[in-house]
């Protein structure tokens, strides 16, 4: 098999010399890394027998950002900005994994209001991540208009992000020790309106797609991932739930107070692309439910831990207390240090289990930060899902696997 060097062209074709089942020659087709329907800079080397996929070899690393190395060069509190940017469709969820890991090593527990605000942000993000997924997958399978609807609601979520943190996408809102600041009253008004209106919008997306004959024929029976296989390859998130296994970290290993919310784990037995689509739609409905509950029972109180060694003192104290000034100075010149040890915290992102493993050597910078990314593991299942499908279906399979290349390559 000869594979030409990535020429930058969308597709290049090489003849392999091998014979396929119908006597024809196997062709090697190079997809990407710049190709409009590979969801980012993914490159696939596909061996085709006629139109049938016989082998898929993903080539990754085109978005390798060196985030893990970068975080070793940053202080504990500075590292948060990097966590936003690896899985760029769910920044607060990654913040949460990192924050929880640091907090577990430090042995602190955030106050209930901070936990609830964290849940609100995570669920909003899950919604926006699924909306981006739905819109772009729609485009890839030829349903242009879905994108317009999805991004309309995504923009509402972005406005809320902006209201609560001052920024649209990479909010860095959840930080070790709590959250950036308490939410404004306007944020809660926006959220209440959103929770009221969102279910109707989800119905709209379903009207567009669920019974749409083209959408159904392009997704039903495509990209089967049997439950046993899903477990073996380590799939998580909608990939494993679309294979009928009710595995959701928010339920099985609750964190940040998820055990107090009443929601269902969306599953579907279809094991195909359509099942994954239904699971995500159902998850959006559940997310709205969680948002409603969080809004109703939002506890009062502080949003940060009361630990001067970890978080800066309030502004007023700086004018009266010398100690506060010293703490403030120390925090912003050298940061805090974390006791030696290692910890792994996993959270459920829009794509599955996104975990953060950190090792501290007792200094003010991490020794090692490793992100366990769901996309990286899910992408390995691609070959098993795509085998013997038509080449055109490959797009549907990549689409519904919902890999974020920033998360794969980090």
């Amino acid at each position: 098999m000869s594979i030409e060097d990535a020429s930058g062209q969308g597709v290049t074709i090489t003849q392999t010399g091998e014979r396929g089942a119908f006597g024809g020659e196997l062709l090697t087709v190079n997809f990407g890394p710049h190709h409009p329907s590979t969801h980012g800079v993914l490159r696939l080397i596909v061996d085709l027998d006629g139109e049938q996929v016989k082998r898929v070899k993903p080539v990754i690393g085109y978005l390798h950002t060196g985030i893990e190395k970068q975080m070793e060069a940053l202080r504990w509190q500075q590292g948060v900005v990097c966590t936003d940017r690896h899985d760029y469709l769910s920044p607060p969820i990654n913040n949460l994994a990192y924050a929880l890991a640091v907090e577990r090593l430090m042995g602190v527990e955030v106050p209930p209001r901070a936990q609830a605000l964290r849940v609100i942000m995570c669920e909003l993000t899950r919604l926006s991540s699924h909306l981006v997924w739905l819109g772009t997958s729609g485009i890839e399978l030829g349903a242009m208009s879905v994108l317009m609807y999805c991004f309309r609601e995504r923009d509402t979520i972005m406005d809320m992000n902006e209201e609560i943190s001052g920024f649209r996408m990479h909010t860095s809102y959840i930080r070790p020790g709590g959250v950036m600041a308490d939410a404004t009253p306007r944020f809660f008004d926006m959220l209440a309106k959103f929770v009221r209106e969102m279910p109707r919008h989800i119905d709209e997306y379903e009207d567009l797609l669920t019974m749409n004959p083209i959408w159904r024929s392009r997704t039903i029976g495509i990209g089967r991932l049997a439950p046993e296989v899903a477990k073996v390859v380590g799939a998580s998130g909608p990939m494993i739930r679309g294979s009928g296994i009710a595995w959701d970290l928010r339920k099985v290993m609750p964190y940040s107070g998820y055990e107090n919310y009443d929601f269902e784990v969306a599953t579907n037995d279809g094991c195909d692309c359509y099942a994954r689509y239904l699971v995500r739609i159902q998850e959006m409905r559940e997310a709205v439910k969680i948002l409603g509950q969080a809004l109703d029972r939002l506890p009062d109180g502080p949003v940060n831990v009361d630990d001067r060694k970890m978080l800066p003192p309030p502004r007023e104290e700086l004018e009266t207390s010398m100690e506060a000034v010293i703490h403030h100075f120390k925090l912003f010149t050298e940061g805090y240090s974390v006791p030696p040890g290692d910890v792994y915290v996993a959270v459920e992102s829009g794509r599955g289990e996104n975990g953060c493993y950190i090792v501290s050597d007792g200094t003010h910078k991490p020794r090692r930060v490793k992100f366990r990314s769901a996309s990286f593991v899910n992408l390995q299942a691609l070959e098993r899902m795509a085998l013997n499908h038509m080449i055109a279906d490959l797009v549907a399979i990549i689409g519904t696997a919902d890999t974020v290349l920033g998360d794969v390559d980090r």
Binding site: A73, G234, D361, R367
Partner: protein, 161 residues
């Protein structure tokens, strides 16, 4: 059950259980754990303990395998220490399929050789890259920035360590 003599050390770190196994017998230990119900490899990675003053480390590279039992909902971290240039350990890709890419990534970024791996090539960095970026003696790189802290190379730990 994993045999007692395979466990050289064990403990709990911030609520996570861990055991240490001798590096040459890692495969044996992992197979036993798989029998024991830990069917899923959550992730696999490496930590470089070069100039780490927090503790006596048996070797420079620590390999970590986080395994999970999805029925009983328990996690276990398996550590193995390796030294040498290149550091070498057995591959577990056939016991735990997700290890395939994880091992390639660890090879790419740390230069740890997994013997028995079918295709141990670079995965994230370009094929012709020289060096293993996540080792502590590899500089962060990038460009110097004026009016900022110097980029550290971490050959020496920070003074307060």
């Amino acid at each position: 059950m994993i045999a007692e003599e395979l466990i050289t050390d064990k403990g709990v770190s911030a609520g996570d259980e861990w055991i240490t196994v001798p590096a040459p017998r890692l495969r044996e230990a992992m197979a036993a754990l798989k029998e024991d119900g830990y069917r899923l490899l959550v992730f696999l990675t490496c930590v470089d303990h070069l100039a780490d003053a927090s503790k006596e480390w048996p070797a420079r590279f620590e390999l970590l395998y986080e395994v999970r039992d999805m029925e009983k909902l328990r996690d276990l971290r398996v550590r193995a220490f390796v030294d040498g240039e290149p550091p070498e350990i057995d591959s577990v890709h056939d016991l735990f399929p997700p290890a395939n890419w994880d091992e390639r990534e660890t090879y790419d970024l740390f230069g740890v050789v997994f013997s028995g791996h079918p295709e141990l090539t670079r995965i994230l960095m370009p094929d012709d890259w020289v060096g293993y970026p996540l080792r502590r003696d590899y500089p962060v790189g990038g460009e110097p920035v004026e009016f900022s802290e110097e980029h550290e190379t971490w050959l020496t730990p920070p003074p307060e360590a």
